[in-house]
Structure formats: structure tokens, C-alpha cells
Amino acid sequence: MDPVVTLTIVDRHRNYTPGETIVFEYTIESLQGNGIQAVEASVLWYTEGKGDEDMVVHYFERGGAESVIGEAFQGACRFETELPKSPLSYEGLIVKIQWCARIRVFLTSGAELHHETPFHLGEVPRPRSRSK
């Protein structure tokens, strides 16, 4: 079985408010002899739609094997961040803003595991399609 990394939100709820602290938890399973070189955890937003993608990282942490491997094997590693006041999640017609947390695990074999967990910041409803 291949190594797997999973990332979840602790005490997940539908929408997060600006200023709220969000906690993430990740586990690495089925390493089967693979060593961990480094782990990167990030919380970011990116745009999608009809324009080029813009991306801004709100939180970033990179740790070596020594900082994560013990915890990861025992149970789950956690990281947390206080969410900013903007931009709020948005699902527009041609511009969308998505918030997510990403975890990347770099194995000594050269392989890379990653997982992404989306979440909503704020409660902005979708705009309705407007005919001109």
C-alpha cells in the first residue's frame, strides 16, 4: 500500500469568520520504510475562473523530518492559524476565491505526497447570473 497523507480540519464547521483560529490536523500512513525528508503545511487562497490564477499564502510552515516524524507516527500533527479579515471566499461568475490548507510531504525516496482541504472564509452568497 502506498504512503498516504490526510489533512483534516479540527472541529470543522461550514463557514469560518475572519479572525477565527482554524486548526488543521494531518496524518501520514503506510510509510513502510519510507523516510520523511520534509513536510510543508500552508494555508492559502487562490483565484479561479476565466482569469489567470492568483495565489497568496497566508500561513506557511516547513519542517524537517525530526520535527514531525515522531508526532506523525504517534497520531496526528497539528498546525493552526488566525484567519485574516479578507479576502472572503467567493464564488462569482468569472472570479472565484477559494481558501484551502495544503500539506506536502517529501519522502527520502524522492516521492511527494500532498493533500488539500478547502474551507470557507465568510458567508458571501453566490451572485446570480445577470443578463445585460
Binding site: T17, P18, G51, D52, E53, H58, V95, P127
Partner: protein
């Protein structure tokens, strides 16, 4: 600070007296007169220089001096009868010019010198040697041994160019003044000291990442309410661009006309150049027409301004708003709406593709016949309510969400639209 010359724009305290339109028109005419005076005089002088006719030939004979060489064949000191105390000798040399069969006497000191000085001057011209001389075209009586200076001509040209520049910039400035209501500017200067601007603008890019900078929203105080909103694209700038284009193109056309007309009058006319000149003149005429159209458009429609009671904008919050539309003509209709646009830019290969999609549009004012009197501004005060549960303003390198107030109207036969971008902050920041 040096004040700009304003012959018609009378001021009494911080406000102007009389009709501002007439004042502006008078100023525009004055500066236009300077511009035309400079332009026409320049054309006349340059043309006459080329043709060798009046007025250049009369006032700037030095421009038409011819350089010749000649051999000195004799010298003399002519006694003259000067006023008491003045030098009494005029040194002269007899020169055989290569272009003339008969030798001519040339004065080498003007008007006259002492005897010793005359000997010294004559010593500079040895008999039998060739020297260079300058004489007026077709008139050997005006011959001299030094090259004529042309500083007078240069001075006149510089003066005329100055007139053109002063005239053009004066017209442009008058137009700018017309578009930005000097009363309001004076009031702004007065109120700026009274208002605590810092109190309402503690929103920064650091506090609200990706929300556009809102400094422009609050740096202009209003007269009735706290802030006057900035306009997206001032029509004055477009007018100035048209004015510069027109001036440059007209100047080029004038030079072409001068060259072509001069050529034809000399019998050396070039038809191809003539055809090109016609095209240049046509374009110059169009640019002048367009400039006056825009001028009339701007003066006729007048400035639009929006003032708001407080800031920043939050979804669900209400504000007082004052729309002012200055117009010298009757307003056919006037609309004010709050709109939200999404904008996305996509670059791939050679394509840069920007798409704008309107996701919200709320009418605030819709008047079929906005009754405004000529020469007085139309004013409308109302409530501006930012809708609840809407996305805040957002900007990233390739994507943005833009809120704006849009004024649509029609004055006479001219429809117009003026856009006032606003910044809406996230709802939870109240």
C-alpha cells in the same frame, strides 16, 4: 507663489463674482487670441523668410546677407564732421568683389573712430589680399566686413513661440478650471483644515489584504458631506490630450503649408508634397473640430460630483449621498446606480484577454427629466445603501471585484457616463 494671469476670472474672497461661464469663456478667448497671434505671426514670418519678402526682408535684412570674397585694392580715411567730442575719421577700404566688376568702398568701423584707431583698423586689411565680406541681397551699399548677427530674429521667434505656448496652456488651464469647479476647490481648502480625515480612514492594506487601497476615497472633502468621491476617468484629461494632439498636428500642417505655398510661389511646387499636405491639413482640421466638440461637450455637460456622509462602506450599511451635476444646458435624464463588476485577465501566447462581468446593478436614481436650470447645478440627495451579503472589493494581479457608482445622463443631444469607483469592505469588519 506667483499667481497665474487671470484677466477675466474675478475673485472676491474665496469665491468668484459674476458669471463663471462668461469669465471662463473670456479667459479662453484671451488665451486663444495669444495662441492665434503667435501662430499666425510665426507663419507669416517664416513664409516671408522663405520668399524673401516683407516683413522679414524689411525688419530682418541680416537674414538675407550674401557671403562673398573680394580683393582689397585701396584704403582711405574719410574725414567726417561729427558732433563735438566724437571720433572724426571713417576708415574705408576699396574692394574688388569676385561677383562685381566695379570695386566698392566698404566701411570697416561704424560709425567712426579716432585717427589712431582708424590706422589700426586699416592695418587689418592689406592691399592685394582676399577677405570675406557680407552684403545685402541686391544692395551693395549695405556691405560689411563682419558676419551679420541674427539675434533679433531669434528673439522674435522665441517670443512668438512663447505666445503660442502661453496661449495653448492658458486655454488648457481654463478648461481644467471649468471642469473642476473652483468654488469647490476653494471650499475644499477651507474645510480640509476643519475635518479630521484620519478619524475615518484607519483601513490599511495590511488590515485587509487584497482589498484595494482606499486612500483616494477620503483625501477630498466635500462641501455638504464629509467626502467627495474620486472620478474614474476625468473628461478633462481626454480634452487635454485632444488639445495637445490638435496643437501638434496643426503646427505640423502649418509648416507643410508654408513649405508648399513657398514652393509654388517660387515656381518650384511639388505636387506630391502638396497632396500629402492636403491630408495633413484635413487631419489638423478634424483635430481642431474634435477639440471644439469636446470643449463644448465638457462645458455643456459640466462637472459631476458625488459626496458621501461617511466612510468606509460596509455591506448592509446606509449612507447619505449628494449627487451634483453642473450643466449649462437642460438635462434630458439622469440615472445613478450602484454596480459591482468582476474582472478577469487571462494571458496566453499573444493574447491578453480581459473580461468584465456585471454581477450586480442597483438603481439609486432614475429621473426621466431632471429639471435643472441653465447655469445652475442639479442636486439630488438620497440614501445610498450597500446591499447585504455581498462580496467586498477585491484586487489581485489578474482578478478583481470592483464596486462603483455610475452616473448616466443626457444633456442636449449628448449622452454621458461618469464612473466613481468605491471600496466596499468585508461585512464582518463592522
Amino acid at each position: 507663489m506667483l499667481r497665474w494671469l487671470k484677466p477675466w476670472g474675478k475673485k472676491r474672497g474665496a469665491r468668484r463674482s459674476g458669471s463663471r461661464l462668461l469669465g471662463s469663456l473670456g479667459e479662453a478667448l484671451f488665451y486663444a487670441f495669444l495662441f492665434l497671434l503667435g501662430s499666425l505671426s510665426l507663419v507669416v514670418i517664416l513664409t516671408s523668410v522663405r520668399l524673401g519678402t516683407w516683413p522679414s526682408h524689411h525688419y530682418f535684412p541680416e537674414l538675407f546677407f550674401v557671403e562673398v570674397t573680394g580683393k582689397v585694392v585701396d584704403q582711405r580715411r574719410t574725414p567726417i564732421d561729427p558732433p563735438v567730442g566724437s571720433p572724426n575719421v571713417q576708415p574705408e577700404i576699396l574692394v574688388k568683389l569676385k561677383t562685381q566688376s566695379e570695386p566698392v568702398w566698404v566701411r570697416i568701423a561704424d560709425p567712426s573712430v579716432e585717427r589712431e584707431a582708424a590706422l589700426l583698423e586699416l592695418g587689418k586689411f592689406e592691399i592685394g589680399q582676399d577677405y570675406t565680406y557680407w552684403h545685402a541681397l541686391g544692395d551693395l551699399r549695405q556691405i560689411q566686413t563682419t558676419e551679420p548677427t541674427r539675434y533679433r530674429f531669434t528673439l522674435v521667434i522665441v517670443t512668438l513661440i512663447s505666445l503660442i505656448l502661453i496661449g495653448a496652456s492658458g486655454v488648457g488651464r481654463t478648461v481644467v478650471q471649468e471642469g473642476t469647479t473652483p468654488e469647490r476647490r476653494a471650499s475644499i481648502a477651507q474645510r480640509a483644515a476643519d475635518l479630521d480625515l484620519a478619524g475615518g480612514t484607519n483601513h490599511t492594506i495590511i488590515d485587509y489584504p487584497s482589498v484595494p487601497d482606499d486612500v483616494e476615497m477620503t483625501n477630498s472633502p466635500g462641501i455638504h458631506f464629509a467626502y467627495r468621491l474620486p472620478i474614474a476617468h476625468s473628461p478633462v484629461l481626454r480634452l487635454l490630450a485632444a488639445a495637445v494632439f490638435s496643437l501638434v498636428w496643426t503646427s505640423i500642417a502649418v509648416v507643410f503649408v508654408q513649405v508648399v505655398v513657398g514652393g509654388f510661389l517660387e515656381g518650384k511646387g511639388e505636387w506630391l508634397l502638396g497632396i500629402v499636405t492636403v491630408a495633413f491639413v484635413a487631419l489638423a482640421s478634424w483635430s481642431v473640430y474634435d477639440l471644439f466638440q469636446q470643449l463644448a461637450f465638457l462645458v455643456g455637460i459640466g462637472p459631476t460630483s458625488i459626496e458621501i456622509s461617511h466612510y468606509p462602506f460596509y455591506p448592509g450599511a446606509s449612507y447619505r449621498l449628494l449627487l451634483t451635476q453642473g450643466s449649462h444646458m437642460d438635462l434630458q435624464y439622469l440615472k445613478l446606480m450602484l454596480a459591482c463588476d468582476e474582472q478577469a485577465t487571462y494571458r496566453q501566447g499573444t493574447d491578453v484577454r480581459t473580461e468584465v462581468r456585471r454581477v450586480r446593478e442597483d438603481a439609486i436614481l432614475d429621473l426621466e427629466q431632471a429639471q435643472s436650470k441653465r447655469d445652475s447645478a442639479f442636486e439630488y440627495e438620497c440614501e445610498l445603501r450597500i446591499p447585504e451579503n455581498v462580496m467586498h472589493s477585491f484586487r489581485s494581479p489578474n482578478n478583481s471585484i470592483q464596486w462603483k457608482l455610475i452616473v448616466n445622463g443626457k444633456v442636449g443631444n449628448w449622452p454621458f457616463e461618469r464612473v466613481f469607483p468605491i471600496v466596499v469592505f468585508p461585512e464582518d469588519s463592522i
